[in-house]
Symmetry: C2
Subunit: 130 residues, 2 copies
């Protein structure tokens, strides 16, 4: 049985205010302001739990540490290969690629994860503020 925890509540609330997909470290530093003796392990444990519960989303981009997204509505992400920023991308569903994959795979396709990569607007314009 899972009990309420003020730390977990705060982690979830913090994520709801951020649209830049922060890492566990960033979340730790921010939530620590409200809970000065917060432990990094607590952050990781709760991020895992919230991900399992489907209340947040974990992004394993393969570039740097995992990131977390408080928005669980279906959407995609673009990774800037210059500054490392991860931005949201609202596109129409591309779930047809699962059907396509199913026709060629001897087994059951349950879904996919896709990350787009490229250059963000700021990097294209050489603004170094990203």
């Amino acid at each position: 049985m899972t009990k309420h925890s003020r730390q977990r509540e705060c982690i979830k609330e913090f994520l709801a205010t951020r649209y830049d997909h922060p890492t566990a470290e960033i979340i730790y530093l921010n939530v620590k302001e409200k809970f000065p003796n917060l432990s990094l392990g607590t952050v990781y444990r709760n991020l895992s739990l919230l991900t399992e519960l489907g209340e947040i989303q974990k992004l394993s981009t393969g570039i740097g540490p995992d990131r977390f997204d408080g928005n669980i509505a279906p959407h995609y992400h673009v990774l800037c290969t210059k500054c490392g920023r991860v931005q949201d991308l609202e596109i129409e569903s591309i779930d047809h690629i699962d059907t396509l994959a199913s026709t060629q795979f001897d087994g059951k396709i349950e879904g996919h994860f896709t990350y787009f990569f490229g250059k963000c607007r700021d990097c294209l314009e050489n603004k170094n503020n990203c």
Copy 2:
């Protein structure tokens, strides 16, 4: 200037014989049979170099350690969520999703990486040999 190295040669040859996308650790254990005092660092260094040269492909699936693929022809991969196996998938190009993403992204889309997930044939049939 990059010099010839028998270790690198052997790593590349080994990858060419394998279709199961081995990890650095597995590659190390196998190539060690020919070079008994091979170092794990040498494996990582050469895998990075070969990846940069475009002679092999690195797969960062987000599940477990990175894997490597000696086949650089464009193709996709399916991760079995039960046994962790990574299998090849030959499907027609889905590069149109980059065009789709471009229409919604304020910046430049250069490509995408997509991993499908599901259950492999062996796991569906409860054969525990995978």
